[in-house]
């Protein structure tokens, strides 16, 4: 630490000696759980890795914006190398939409560049504050999964750097096995320095939006079928209601507007969630009230509007640090994909279990996945229904519910999403992803994560590998 070269006159003088971690960790996941202390280093240049982990003995992991919820982006007592300063654009072909950029660039930065040039992300998650590398490593999906598949499907090539210094060019034809293992590979196969993705043309920022109220899973399934030709579909579902309001929700669908309109750059968000709410703020009553307001805000059965892409794709990005709403304890996400065979019964059973538990979740998202295959070996989506829920963490109650929901998911032949998980057991992971042993062959021996240690660690002695 070159504190001798310190420039900040106002910096506090060191108060405590010793190396016991104090205060919050240097890096948190979006759920702010679990809390793992780790050393955090920045990668500024493609050549900084693997030099940045020289002499590291407790494992390392590349991280980006920390928007995954659980522990796929954490490593207890290890070394995290953050890629967000490695965010340069390297090439763009306005004829084909092929964009090459360093892996730490965020989707927000890509949009700022691409939208004014008439291009959009081929697939986008519900936040634009994720890195390109993170989008590939978690093989993210979006509202157009039934048309476009996962993000990885639009990644044409990338460079993967191994901890031994080997730099691998990966594409469907060059090192195809590492290409497949790295897409959805949770950052464990190496560190991506740059990647190329195929953007898609747009003529307007606007989205032709329709919101349709539904009551019950069958209405949801009908709307899903009717919307087959619509590019984006997603539903918000009220998981607190029972009886005649059980599984009521709003089906939201949209297509990019085909009417040419100015392609301006988005403004920057001005709101930041000001503080951590106390743990009791989100309870069954407040969330139930919110859900009623949200459902009834849409007065009519069906609403149509021309909507800017920002509120359509990224409603929560308008408030920075909204995870503080869940208080100090943080939040847990739960997202399953259950194949069509058991999708209906599984979804009903799980929604009933959630409603009965009385545990609040007001960000509940329901969607049908399509059958477009991903090149990713460990990719999460599969054809069927996916439901994402989040809960404030109340250890005794929410953990028990989670463990139960995970087991139900397993029974219905589904699986959970590692990027949103902090609880699945080793046995569950290995049932959800039976290909994990094959995947482990491509893992970099120096890299590991909180998630991997939890679901596999003991069996492979991960931190010892390579020594």
């Amino acid at each position: 630490m070159p504190s001798s070269a310190e420039l900040d006159f106002n910096a506090p003088q060191p108060t405590e000696a010793g190396d016991k971690p104090a205060g919050p960790p240097a890096f948190e996941s979006w759920g702010r759980y679990p809390e793992y202390h780790a050393e955090l280093k920045q990668l500024h240049w493609q050549g900084d890795y693997p030099r940045a982990i020289d002499g590291v003995h407790h494992g390392a992991l590349a991280v980006g914006m920390g928007r995954s919820y659980g522990d796929v982006c954490l490593l207890k007592d290890g070394t995290l190398v953050q890629t967000t300063s490695m965010n340069r654009l390297l090439d763009f072909d306005p004829a084909t939409g092929l964009l090459t950029a360093e892996a730490g660039i965020t989707l927000a930065q890509i949009l700022d560049f691409a939208v004014p040039r008439g291009y959009f992300l081929p697939v986008t998650p519900g936040t634009k504050y994720v890195t390109l590398g993170g989008a590939i490593a978690n093989d993210i999906h979006g509202k157009n999964h039934h048309h476009a598949g996962t993000f990885g499907r639009h990644v044409t090539q990338f460079e993967l750097v191994r901890s031994n210094g080997e730099r691998m060019h990966c594409s469907p034809s060059s090192n195809p096995d590492y290409y497949g293992a790295t897409i959805g590979g949770m950052g464990l196969t190496g560190v991506m320095t740059w990647a190329q993705v195929r953007l898609k043309p747009i003529v307007s920022r606007m989205v032709d939006y329709q919101g349709i109220q539904f009551h019950g899973i069958d209405e949801f399934l009908d709307l899903t079928r009717q919307a087959e030709n619509i590019e984006y579909t997603v539903s918000w579902v009220d998981v607190t209601s029972t009886g005649k309001n059980f599984c009521r929700g709003i089906f939201m669908q949209g297509d990019h507007s085909q009417v040419p309109a100015p392609l301006k750059v988005s403004g920057k968000p001005k709101l930041t969630f000001p503080m951590e709410l106390p743990g009791f703020a989100l309870n069954g009553a407040t969330v139930g009230a919110f859900n009623s307001v949200f459902f009834n805000k849409q007065m009519k059965k069906r609403v149509s509007a021309l909507q800017d892409y920002e509120p359509f794709f990224y409603p929560l990005d308008a408030v920075l640090k909204w995870n503080r709403m869940y208080g100090k304890g943080g939040l847990l996400q739960f997202q399953y994909a259950i194949p069509w065979e058991h999708a209906r019964e599984g979804t009903i059973a799980i929604l009933q279990a959630v409603a009965k538990s009385g545990l609040a979740s007001f960000l509940a998202v329901l969607k049908a996945f399509g059958d477009v295959p991903s090149p990713g070996m460990m990719s999460f989506p599969k054809p069927g229904i996916t439901l994402a829920l989040d809960f404030p963490i109340k250890p005794e109650k929410s953990f028990a519910l989670f463990d139960r929901l995970a087991e139900m998911t397993n029974e219905f032949g589904g699986r959970l999403y590692p990027a949103k998980d902090a609880r699945m057991t080793s046995a569950q992971f290995q049932a959800f992803y039976p290909q994990w042993e094959k995947f482990a062959r491509y893992k970099d021996p120096a890299l590991t994560s909180g998630f991997w240690e939890r679901v596999v660690g003991g069996q492979l002695g991960v931190r010892g590998v390579g020594k």
Partner: protein
Amino acid sequence: MSTTPRTPVMEEQPLALRTPRDGEHESGAREVAGTQPHGPRRILVLGATSGIAEACIRLWANRGDALYLVARNEDKLAVVAADARTRGASHVGSAVANLDDTNAHPEVLAHAINSLGGLDVAFLALGVLGEQPDAEKNFAAADQILHTNFVAPVSLLTWLANYTAQRRAGTLAVLSSVAGERGRKSNYVYGSSKAGLTAFVDGLRNRIDREGVKVMTIKPGPVKTAMTEGMKGSGKFADVEAVAASLVKAIDRGDDVVYVPGIWRVIMAVIRAIPERVFKKMNL
């Protein structure tokens, strides 16, 4: 000093942007990239891979300015130049050069101005933080800091001042530091190099402002970049994008003395006002 000031000999080229030479890439600058009052500016960046310089380069590239980038590390320079091209700079030339070598300055500068077809702005962002403890024990380490931060910019500015004054146009924007305003034990070698640079630039402005050349002394407070990584309190340092946005505006205007963020003008006034009998006992 290894360079003697001399009259530049290269021919001034027309203001219109040239077509790219072999090996140079001209990306389609688009209207969408943003507009600015002057039309594309021809900007030379010395020390182009420094964090503050790179953030400015992105903004200039976004609005379609013509850039010539000089830095010592070839791999780093290549990606900074690629980023500028991709964003829509109307011209991107570059040269790998160790600017510690003052003998090479006339050639580097002449080449840059040829490539740009003239010069509107020269941004000097070369510099090293160095290691104060080394510099205390070992004059060679101090000499290195003084050379890169003071001697080399003096050589570059001597040439550039004569070139711009002769043409009665141009902006010389020089990155100094608030650390040059008062020496303190934790970094007085770096601070003295910047103090020297500040005095030189201030004096140069006094000489050639009347010749129509804008000479800018830029004094950033601590900024979050690779240079300051790992420093105590670096989490609270200024955001480099915000600093760059202020600098690009200030350079468009050609301000004399710029503190970024602006609060440092006040902070440094307070620091300078502390009586020496008190200051010498402080731990700063």
